[in-house]
């Protein structure tokens, strides 16, 4: 009898612990904090930010949110928020809004988002975003002579900077599919030694070009300098700036 009641207590306790853990870690996000609360939390983590205006609140998904802001020094920055441990927490702050990719889940390209906040002082009109994989070739002479060829990937997405300085854009479906097949093919637990000498340029990367009002390539001087501050480990990847000269068939869109 005594033994049984111990087992019963154990089961009940276990249930309570699992329930609590579930409630703690899996709970649905509550409404997003107010602007004042957001500013408070940013300043708590990173007082130098000196946020003046919260521009917007953009949900990448239910648990991941981007909050563009303007600082007292007129910097156009971005803050990244995650619903974690029953709280909306700031995960990363960038004091410049040059284009980046937020890989919410590294393994899932459909969770990738382009984010930017370009200062109007730069007077830009369009932002061109790219997904690039360099062309490559290899001739192996191991057993039989065999050629391998990697087509160039150059996918482009254009967005306007006229209406608002900031933006959050999910990686478009075409790009998601290409990256997905890329990750899947690569993810096969193949001998690493093989892949290494297969091709060093076998990587897809993201890039961008900005254009001014008259359609010329421009460099957003005031949007590329500024500190970054990371609270938790999220991947907000820097994107190399590209130039039209490197584009293939730039006139065909």
């Amino acid at each position: 009898m005594k033994k049984q009641s111990w087992i019963l207590t154990g089961i009940v306790l276990l249930g309570v612990v699992i329930g609590l853990a579930g409630w703690f870690y899996l709970s649905e996000p509550v409404s997003f904090p107010t602007d004042a609360q957001l500013m408070n939390e940013i300043h708590e983590m990173f007082p130098e930010a000196a946020v003046d205006v919260i521009q917007d609140i953009i949900h990448a998904d239910e648990r991941h949110t981007v909050v563009p802001f303007i600082s007292e020094r007129q910097e156009y920055g971005l803050s990244y928020w995650i619903w974690k441990n029953r709280k909306w927490q700031v995960a990363h702050i960038d004091m410049n809004g040059e284009p980046r990719v937020w890989k919410v889940d590294q393994q899932d390209p459909s969770s990738y988002h382009f984010v930017w906040n370009i200062s109007p002082a730069d007077q830009l009109s369009t932002l061109q975003l790219y997904m690039i994989r360099e062309r490559g070739q290899r001739i192996s002479e191991e057993v039989v002579e065999e050629e391998t060829y990697y087509p160039r990937v150059q996918m482009e997405w254009v967005t306007s900077l006229k209406d608002s300085s900031y933006g959050v854009m999910p990686l478009p479906e075409d790009g998601v599919q290409i990256l997905d097949s890329f990750l899947k093919t690569k993810a096969k637990h193949q001998p690493e030694l093989f892949f290494e000498n297969f091709s060093p340029t076998q990587e897809i990367h993201f890039s961008w070009i900005a254009k001014d009002q008259s359609g010329n390539e421009a460099y957003p001087e005031s949007s590329v300098n500024g500190d970054s501050y990371s609270v938790s480990n999220i991947s907000v990847d820097y994107m190399m700036i590209f130039s039209e000269e490197q584009l293939e068939l730039p006139d065909r869109k």
């Binding site: 050629e147 060829y149 093919t185 001998p191 293939e248 068939l249 065909r252």
Partner: protein
């Protein structure tokens, strides 16, 4: 995404041969067990074999196959130290302990045995291995050289599958002249489409990227370790055409 997709790679042949090697192991264990005069408890036999399996091993790649060569019988040594304290106990267990260690080689033998079957079911040099299910094909333009609204002609593909010829994807001169010695702005990609919404042969567990040539007559399959290039006589893509 598509219905073909599963959570893990389903590799039919390795699964079957792994099962077979366990059956073989079970059979040998059963034979040894029936021979024994003083019977050990069955669960003790099972644990002994599994502990005996532990070994220091090296991984060797033999063509595409990962072979695990067990070298140091760590599990055997471990059990020996535990069991030797009582007289005769080690003798009773010994055959099962070593069976555990040698079963590493049973697995290896079956892995090697599976190779011809893998090749037979999923020939590595045939297009049908990599492109056998076409559920909702979509030609994605991966380069500005691509034309808009191109549609993959699934029927034409299956009609021509048997007559497609394996070819070399490029030669060095062409690559040098066409890409290295041409300004970026003038470069035309010869494989501007990637075909998605397709699947490899059932049970092969293969993933690949399938590129389609500008003229629609070439298919370039890229897997993690090899590439295949096939040419057909008639184009497999069509502008906004029906399937």
């Amino acid at each position: 995404m598509s219905a073909i997709e599963v959570l893990f790679d389903f590799n039919l042949i390795p699964i079957i041969f792994t099962l077979l090697s366990w059956i073989a192991l079970g059979y040998i264990a059963f034979k040894l067990y029936t021979k024994q005069k003083v019977k050990l408890k069955l669960w003790k036999v099972l644990v002994t074999i599994i502990v005996g399996l532990f070994s220091f091993s090296i991984n060797v790649y033999w063509f595409d196959l990962l072979l695990r060569l067990a070298i140091l019988p760590l599990g055997v040594w471990f059990l020996y130290f535990i069991l030797k304290s009582k007289e005769n106990r080690w003798e009773r267990y010994r055959s099962f302990v070593w069976l555990g260690f040698w079963s590493n080689y049973i697995f290896l033998a079956f892995a090697l045995l599976s190779v011809p079957f893998q090749q037979w079911f999923y020939p590595k040099d045939q297009l049908s291995t990599y492109l056998s299910q076409v559920e909702n094909p979509e030609l994605i333009s991966i380069h500005p050289a691509a034309k808009d609204h191109q549609v993959f002609q699934t029927e034409k593909y299956f009609d021509q599958l048997d007559t497609m010829k394996k070819d070399r994807v490029f030669n060095d001169e062409w690559y040098t002249e066409y890409y290295l010695e041409t300004e970026p702005a003038e470069r035309n990609e010869s494989f501007p489409y990637q075909l998605t919404g397709t699947g490899s042969k059932w049970g092969s567990g293969l993933h690949s990227m399938i590129y389609v040539e500008e003229d629609g007559k070439g298919i370039l399959v890229t897997t993690s370790d090899r590439q295949l290039y096939f040419r057909t006589d008639a184009s497999l893509i069509d502008e906004g055409g029906s399937q």
